[in-house]
């Protein structure tokens, strides 16, 4: 039930976010289970999911050691694209890949809105 809702939500998000250069997105649990994904052909959601959950877990451990407070987001910068790994509510992570030319403020605003919808979908 959640998965159907989340997949619909991600499809809509990707459609609406094309203008701000978001290329792919996935929602996973903190233990790496893929709940919904909208990824380009050739990218395996079941492989990306645990890696994103791992990146988030490791970053959270770093944030704790550095006394940084609660971790909200991890940024991974590549030469072609970048990725954001975001906390999206109870035991849920939203990851998205966006073009290097994307405006990060616009991406963050979109992430904030969709994270709110994900949180709402999961608790309802």
């Amino acid at each position: 039930m959640h998965q159907e809702k989340l997949t619909g939500l991600l499809d809509r998000f990707n459609e609406e976010s094309r203008g701000i250069n978001i290329e792919a997105s996935e929602i996973v649990t903190t233990d790496g289970l893929s709940l919904a994904a909208s990824l380009p052909a050739g990218i395996d959601a079941d492989r990306v999911g645990p890696l994103c959950a791992g990146a988030f877990a490791l970053s959270r451990a770093i944030a704790k050691e550095f006394d940084m407070g609660e971790l909200g987001q991890v940024i991974i910068k590549g030469s072609k694209s970048s990725a954001l790994v975001n906390f999206a509510g109870e035991q849920t992570i939203l990851t998205l890949r966006f073009d290097v030319d994307a405006n990060i403020d616009e991406v963050n605003e979109a992430v904030k809105n969709v994270s709110e919808e994900i949180r709402h979908s999961i608790v309802s």
Binding site: T30, D31, G32, L33, D46, R47, P50, A53, G54, A57, L58, R60, A61, K64
Partner: protein, 195 residues
């Protein structure tokens, strides 16, 4: 995070009861206590001769005084033969797994030396017990060996994984998923290679 008691309980639950060291085995060890304690010198000498003759195990022993090293086995043997084989004893064997990680004693090293102990025991006890007694005592020691090897080896793995969990923040389910993902890949590669 699991503590030693939890790890011990889970390992025991995994082992079929018939394969585990039992009360009758403990009674048999007690019955032959004097004979078993009398072979300590030969056991300790042979055990460390074997370890010092092999480069990888000798490297772990390092330059430390041999008599001091032998005392580790002597102490373990005495405690084992005098043991009530209660929870404290089994939890101690689980703790050994933790120490093995620290000292870089691998499971192949531990298991192969258990094989050596069983062979040496049979040889040493053959001179002191009749055939029927020898067979019964050896069956008890085989169950003891299986039980301790299971505790030590599983504790090695459980503690290793727990250390990774704590260091990285990865939870157990995430590690299981990642391991599963890699194993599927390895099986697929192996199957493809063998076609």
């Amino acid at each position: 995070m699991k503590d030693i008691q939890q790890i011990t309980a889970e390992i025991f639950e995994s082992m079929p009861v018939a394969t585990r060291f039992n009360d009758a085995d403990a009674a048999l060890v007690k019955q032959h206590k004097d004979i078993l304690l009398s072979i300590e010198d030969e056991l300790a000498k042979g055990f460390y001769d074997t370890l010092y003759e092999h480069q990888k195990t000798a490297d772990i022993l390092g330059g430390e005084d041999r008599a001091k090293r032998e005392n580790v086995l002597r102490s373990w043997w005495q405690k084992t033969i005098n043991s009530d084989f209660d929870d404290a004893y089994w939890e101690w064997q689980v703790f050994v797994g933790l120490i093995h990680i620290k000292q870089k004693v691998t499971n192949p090293m531990m298991i192969s030396m258990w094989g050596w102990i069983l062979t040496a025991l049979r040889k040493l006890l053959n001179e002191r017990l009749n055939q029927s007694e020898l067979d019964t005592v050896m069956m008890s020691f085989e169950r003891l060996a299986a039980t301790i090897q299971a505790l030590t080896a599983e504790s090695f793995l459980a503690n290793y994984v727990q250390a990774i969990e704590q260091a990285t923040g990865f939870n157990n389910n995430l590690i299981d998923r990642m391991v599963g993902m890699q194993i599927d890949g390895l099986i697929k590669n192996r199957a493809t290679a063998s076609i």
